[in-house]
């Protein structure tokens, strides 16, 4: 894992979470902005996956459990698509809040992944 990138990823996920929860509670249905926020979170997770796959070859080895790290990463990769599908099926303000919940969950999971990579 690259520390600076991981920090940036957590900040983006928290920002997306805050944005979606606020906009959702303000009564807006999922829109391009909130769905786009979750797409960005997902893209950063994919970048994180590529980094995690390449890093050991470049001498950046995880110190914690590798299987546990990938359990977190793969679960995390599934969450934003599920939230987006939910938002597209059920177009209510609460789906916007759910998008925010998903983004916050990713933030927490990325922090956990960082703890596992370098405890």
């Amino acid at each position: 894992m690259i520390f600076a990138f991981t920090i940036a990823q957590v900040i983006v996920a928290c920002a997306a979470g805050l944005l979606c929860v606020s906009i959702g509670l303000a009564g807006r249905r999922p829109n391009d902005l909130t769905l786009g926020g979750l797409v960005l979170v997902e893209v950063l997770l994919l970048v994180q996956l590529v980094i995690a796959l390449i890093a050991p070859a470049l001498g950046n080895h995880p110190r914690g459990s590798i299987p546990l790290f990938y359990v977190y990463l793969i679960s995390a990769l599934l969450i934003p698509p599920l939230a987006v599908v939910w938002a597209l099926i059920e177009r209510t303000r609460w789906s916007t809040v759910v998008l925010g919940v998903a983004a916050f969950a990713i933030a927490v999971m990325v922090v956990r992944m960082a703890q596992i990579w370098a405890p």
Partner: protein, 162 residues
């Protein structure tokens, strides 16, 4: 999503017992279901990993954690499927569980086989220290869940439904 106009408009907030209110109400329930689902996956996934990887370190705590995970899964399904009684039972168990195990983990950690109370440590479980390893969400969620169930019961007049 080439921005249909109505996506930008706030939904009408309808006070009173109309069907629109029920939809909005079940909408809040949706958020609860989402949070429960995340916690169910987190608790179950972690306890399964702990049991496979290091069961002997704290068997009681890990088994309790697995039980908590299963209860969260059942509660998630009960909320999603609007099975009021099942939701009430499982959410009540969660509240009692987090309070009892949380207190035990602080007062008598040895009873649970815990050597460390680090909420993010390798022995951390979903209910230890009132769920501190999960940002206290396990403590807040059952309370919110019970409040939600009560509000639904009062509003819909359909005692068998959430």
């Amino acid at each position: 999503m080439s921005g249909a106009q109505n996506t930008e408009e706030p939904e009408a907030a309808v006070p009173g017992g109309t069907s629109a209110t029920r939809r909005a109400g079940s909408g809040v329930g949706r958020v609860l279901v989402a949070v429960y689902a995340v916690l169910a996956i987190a608790a179950t996934g972690r306890s399964v990993f702990q049991i496979i990887d290091r069961f002997s370190e704290a068997p009681v705590a890990f088994l309790l954690s697995a039980l908590a995970g299963v209860i969260y899964i059942v509660a998630t399904i009960a909320l999603a499927a609007r099975l009021r009684t099942l939701a009430l039972i499982t959410i009540s168990i969660e509240l009692v569980g987090v309070l009892v195990v949380g207190t035990l983990s602080l007062v008598a950690p040895a009873l649970l086989g815990l050597d460390s109370l680090d909420p993010f440590g390798r022995e951390s479980t979903v209910w230890s220290v009132y769920g501190a390893g999960y940002l206290l969400v396990p403590l807040a969620l059952p309370v919110l869940g019970l409040l939600y169930l009560r509000s639904r019961a009062g509003r819909t007049g359909r005692p068998t439904k959430v």
